[in-house]
Symmetry: C2
Subunit: 382 residues, 2 copies
């Protein structure tokens, strides 16, 4: 049976990138690597929509979030964490680990934090040093209005940290225009690579804070050292350099399509997924949808775990379920990176078939037809 990876990360890696990963290992302190890093850096700036350096880190995305916290926030300082799911909570746990006081602005899972809530928190806590936000809350499928957050934070001394791990490259993320001070992503989502690399774009406002923080308790994630190394097209420690070589291909692929086209395509996939689930009678979970995944509620009377299990065992489709208290209650379908509109159609087909098998009443073809109608809207008839 053919296997289809349709979970929101790690995502499928294009075939040419897989073959790139099978190439012999090269030396990392070399002109070859420096040229590679120069090229990749330029393309990362394009994807991040930033003129600032994008630091590569050999870690999962969480490492980049830790780098943001530990380099900018001394113990005892205060931040505002915007929380609507597991990854918003990760910010809070991270802050706690470093003795940083987190003021939580929380919304129920499935909701987005309204910018007004942030405005109030900033007014109540003018001493907040940072605001920790999540572009795409992977646990609920919610996309946040980072542009609005950025406008609010830019007028304060606080920094805006954005976990864009499952968002960047799957939905709009204008790092500079939106005043994001530390913007983090990982290799295994829209960048179409295996996990192992993280990237962090750092603004001038953030560098001022980092430079004024002389001895942060970190070594591996020391951003001053990372910046100095990047200046000579190097890394402080041995990088996952074969992944950097593979990244070059992903970024070329993105540039060839053009970010605008790519984001429009992802938006179409997302709209198709939403229409498909709704046409099957499934409710959407996210009040404000992220670009890279669609989350639907498991209908009443259907066992969510069994649904996912059947999808995998019978049809080879790996969608993700809910985590923690959402276990069995939602299904999460990714449409980011190499997962395209036809994969969405395929996934909807699988979900339809399994739901029918489980006795859920639906009109065969309703989901895929609704999705197809959305896809058809993009066609320009001459």
């Amino acid at each position: 049976m053919r296997f289809r990876l349709l979970a929101p990360g790690p995502t499928p890696v294009p075939e040419d990138t897989l073959l790139e990963m099978a190439k012999p290992v090269f030396y990392h302190r070399s002109a070859e690597f420096r040229n590679l890093l120069r090229e990749v850096e330029e393309d990362l700036q394009y994807v991040f929509q930033t003129a600032n350096p994008v630091l590569p880190l050999t870690s999962s995305g969480t490492g980049a979030l830790e780098a943001a916290v530990v380099n900018c926030l001394p113990a005892g300082s205060k931040v505002i964490c915007l929380i609507g799911g597991r990854f918003g909570e990760r910010w809070r746990s991270l802050c706690k680990a470093f003795g940083v006081e987190a003021v939580s602005v929380t919304v129920p899972h499935g909701q987005a934090v309204p910018p007004e809530h942030l405005a109030r928190a900033l007014a109540d806590h003018p001493d907040a040093r940072a605001v920790c936000a999540t572009l795409s809350e992977t646990s609920t499928g919610v996309g946040h209005d980072i542009a609005a957050f950025g406008k609010l934070v830019a007028d304060t001394p606080a920094l805006l940290f954005v976990d864009a791990i499952s968002g960047l490259g799957a939905m709009e993320c204008r790092t500079d225009d939106w005043h994001i001070d530390l913007c983090a992503t990982g290799s295994q989502k829209a960048l179409m690579l295996p996990p192992g690399l993280a990237f962090l774009a750092v603004s001038a406002k953030a560098w001022k804070v980092i430079d004024a923080n002389p001895n942060p308790p970190t070594f591996y994630f020391d951003l001053k050292k990372a910046r100095a190394s990047l200046g000579t097209l190097d890394t402080p420690y041995t990088p996952a350099h074969t992944l950097v070589r593979a990244l070059r291909l992903s970024l070329k692929r993105i540039r060839a399509e053009g970010l605008e086209n790519l984001l429009a395509r992802h938006a179409r996939s997302a709209a198709a997924a939403r229409a498909g689930f709704q046409a099957m009678g499934l409710e959407l979970f996210a009040a404000r949808a992220a670009g890279g995944l669609t989350v639907a509620k498991v209908p009443a009377g259907i066992d969510g775990a069994a649904l996912l299990d059947r999808l995998e065992k019978q049809y080879g489709m790996k969608l993700a379920g809910g985590q923690d208290h959402l276990k069995g209650k939602i299904i999460r379908l990714a449409h980011m990176g190499y997962i395209d509109q036809f994969d969405v159609l395929t996934a909807l087909s699988g979900v339809e078939l399994v739901l029918q098998e489980m006795g859920y009443p639906l009109e065969p073809g309703a989901g895929v037809a609704a999705a197809q109608r959305v896809l058809a809207r993009a066609i320009k008839v001459p």
Copy 2:
């Protein structure tokens, strides 16, 4: 021209492992990954010669060293750092970053720290919480007598931290028998993988210290969390899981050969390299040789940088030079992991040819013949 990677890390990856890395990406929260982690864990314990858990970390080796320091040593505590090169110095820098006082026991580069020096330091500093040592000091080619260090440290409340990054799997490293409390390695040396994973074996004595240190300033490298996750065959954050899949092959390769045979083979390669360099009239740099690399002094009158450059440009051989003040003064040849005795012979041939071209007086064949004589000693004539 054929390229040969002969530097002490990253090292060449076997062809079947390269192809394994080109396999489609799978899901990391799955029975497939749990089975993989179980299998890999068992084989890692075999290579580490430990009955304790070996924690996988998605980082370079330095991340594992940071994990050792930050989880065990509160700011203000004191450690003894044994320093004879760049990687001994890394321990000191790491301690400094976390506010840990490092008492340095230093020897000139090329020398090994004598166990008596450690005995004296332990007597002078009974309040030292840890001793930071390096199995194979990659910058000088020195191998340390960790067994002797372990005997001394075991009688004290201090922990023994060993950077075994370029040593483990290339020379003897009996984690449990030698009383190593935190033993770290990376994927890109004797484990024959690209960089991106690190591994840390933790003793019961170390766990006691870690458990008594309630809030270490770390999140990504929190060892208590890593242990809890490993208990359910999981990782706290997205692991470089395609590298873990590739690691399985490296470890099978090691088990198939048998650690004893593998170490004997590496010792032969090392002896052949030493004999070869000496027969060419080159002095060895390390007073006590590591198992995975051989370091020779560049002869007087020869430009070391030019020597390495010619080796690479004319013959496609990438050996490493000296770092920092040793730049141009030494050459470093690796013989670990997938680099075998015949690669050593090849490297010696290349060095001979280039030295001759540069006007250095030597008898053609002297180096390779001397190496061959060492290799021949292993033959048992019936």
